[in-house]
């Protein structure tokens, strides 16, 4: 992109300025916003090409490409442990990682609401740049549109990612088999409750932080063990319960979980109690479920626990043969119950 001569252009007032319709018009204001806010933060050789698309090198020979996309509409935009920017990078990186892929490039589309503070936009963009850099992925192309005030909620971000997978790695939701072990990388419900606590104004001794994180390095450690990993999936919307039901249906199997082995932070338990929610259904953004051959479970678990994002990883259950594809759970009380799909939105109980 050619630099607009700064002497002829009024500098963008990041501190007090706001997004207006002209920032999405494709004219000079759009170019300025792109240059000052986006290109400066995401700077990389592909973005510098300044074209409508990025021309990218081929991945290593004999590898396969993996592509995934994710839209982000979180409210509030900033929350303990992250913001919509970091989330939009982690979300897509993790979708690639769950395919066993090494992520390379991201695209990012922004839908901005007229009147949105440029200062907040810049915070979000720097946060994206920072976590993308930490994850070793480059944001190589993007787009910005502006909608009238009242027709958006500050900012929506869509990201698409491309990565590659090597060798015979092919985790897939339909490969769970009776007898397989179900592993979980850590505590559940942190992301959803960080958001909900913020929304409901709940205060705890220590704030609940979102677990938003990029999981591809953890996955690399897991793949390096040579364990026969059948399924990898991150339990985001709908939480652990819904993700396990998806896998059970896709693979045509049942599952039995052990409630005692499912790690949950105390504050998350407390917040869920207040709001009448079940942590099993609350969203995560930095956790993964791995289903592997029982014989490899111990090896895989040991490897996971060496990684900072999976220190409290645990084997939480077993895959069983069940035509009805029910996910069951042995409760802490010694009883047994079903863990069903999320039904509608979780609504607080009324009495």
């Amino acid at each position: 992109m050619n630099k607009i001569k700064s002497v002829y252009v009024r500098p963008l007032d990041i501190k007090h300025g706001r997004v207006d319709m002209s920032h999405g018009s494709g004219g000079r204001a759009s170019a300025q916003l792109t240059e000052v806010v986006f290109a400066a933060a995401f700077d990389n050789e592909y973005l510098q090409q300044g074209n409508d698309g990025a021309v990218l090198p081929l991945p290593p020979a004999n590898s396969r490409l993996v592509m995934s996309t994710d839209a982000h509409v979180v409210s509030p935009l900033f929350f303990p442990g992250g913001d919509i920017g970091s989330l939009s990078v982690h979300g897509t990186v993790n979708d690639l990682a769950m395919m066993g892929a090494h992520p390379l490039w991201l695209s990012a589309s922004f839908i901005l609401e007229e009147g949105f503070a440029l200062y907040d936009l810049q915070r979000i963009v720097s946060s994206m740049a920072q976590v993308a850099k930490a994850a070793g992925v480059a944001i190589v192309t993007g787009d910005t549109k502006v909608v009238e005030r009242g027709k958006g909620d500050g900012v929506y971000i869509s990201t698409t990612g491309v990565g590659y997978v090597q060798g015979s790695t092919s985790p897939s939701g339909d490969r769970a088999r009776a007898g397989d072990a179900i592993l979980l990388s850590g505590t559940i419900g942190d992301h959803g409750m960080a958001i909900m606590s913020q929304r409901e104004g709940l205060q705890f001794e220590s704030a609940i932080e979102s677990d938003s994180a990029a999981l591809h390095e953890l996955v690399a450690v897991m793949l390096a063990t040579g364990a026969d990993i059948h399924v990898l999936r991150d339990p985001t919307r709908g939480g652990l319960a819904t993700t396990l039901n998806e896998i059970a249906r896709q693979s045509g199997v049942g599952m039995v979980l052990n409630e005692n082995n499912i790690p949950v932070h105390r504050q998350v338990v407390a917040a869920c109690e207040f709001l009448g929610l079940d942590p099993l259904y609350v969203a995560n953004e930095g956790k993964l479920i791995a289903i592997c051959a029982e014989a490899d479970a111990a090896k895989l678990l040991d490897a996971m626990r060496t990684h900072p994002l999976a220190l409290t990883a645990a084997v939480i259950g077993t895959v069983i043969a069940d035509d009805a594809c029910f996910v069951q759970m042995k409760t802490k009380l010694g009883g047994r119950r079903m863990v069903d799909w999320l039904n509608g939105d979780q609504l607080p109980r009324i009495c």
Binding site: A270, K332, G334, G335, R337, M338, D340, N343, C351
Partner: protein, 374 residues
Amino acid sequence: MKYVDEFRDGALAQNLTDSIALQAQQSRTYRLMEFCGGHTHALSRYGLLGILPANVQMIHGPGCPVCVLPIGRVDLAIRLAMEKDVILCSYGDCLRVPASDQMSLLKAKARGGDVRMVYSALDALKIAMNNPARQVVFFAIGFETTTPPTASIIRQARANGLTNFSVLCNHVLTLPAMEAILTQPGGVPLQGLVGPAHVSTVIGSQPYQYIAKRFNKPIVISGFEPLDLLQGILMLLRQVNENRAEVENEFTRAVTLAGNRKAQALVDEVFEVRDSFEWRGLGSLPFSGLKIRVAFAEFDAELRYPDLIYTNVPDHKACECGAILRGEKRPQDCKIFGTICTPDNPIGSCMVSSEGACAAHYTYGRFSEVKWAL
């Protein structure tokens, strides 16, 4: 978490189930009704039904506010939203209750009705204060637990001089429903009742004395935590075995003999007992519901919209909610359970609220009816 962990302790639960197994005599069957939907939900959620001896059977009672709400009352709320152009505020669970003509408040909202979900009665009042040009109606439901907050907002509406706020009152009373269950002809024989937790914090344990005496049934008021429930069931078995019919209070950390007098006074100031109120499954019960007192008439939606007349609407023909609410049938006995009627597409109200017997069994218990290999 204090007051939670210690009431969900697996080892203590094992002790209690051992004691229950010892107490349950092989020669007899114990049919106990947990009146409250909160208990029904806890029994299923913690898998307690599977760890009780086979001859200790829990019958699910009608203490689920959404479940006992008759179709005709929901129809009134829908008419308010669609014909009277009001902002209709309701608790989340009510939105999905099936009404006449395959409508629900949620569908009314999708068809342009201004229906808003609130988390508390106070939220409804705030909406009225923020929208002075619109009429706002709070669709109030619930037993004695949710009545005081409704009374409180009506008082606040008066204090703030609001002229755009009213309440469609569907508050109901626990004791008349308990009496109805125990007197219905051909009803299930019950050996005892698990008494409500939160309702009893308001009304106290004393009012149940009359029921225990008149019907010669033991009542144990229990908390909603799993150990509370197991302890309550154990206390009931002891009473049955010893031929006692007393009111005992397991939930002493929250329930007193006299209850919450301040809340009772508040309710008494704003509400009076209706001559009769219709319950889904139980029919029209005398003195079983509340209405707003004349002194607060300007906040009574039924008076503000006098052409809003309640009409009785029969349930869906195949729906067994009525028999289930009376404890005569189990959810799985209903032909449409889990096939036509599911939580995603409820036909009957017991499938709507998470406290409803059908929703609890569908969500947590239906695996038990399918053979599976471990």
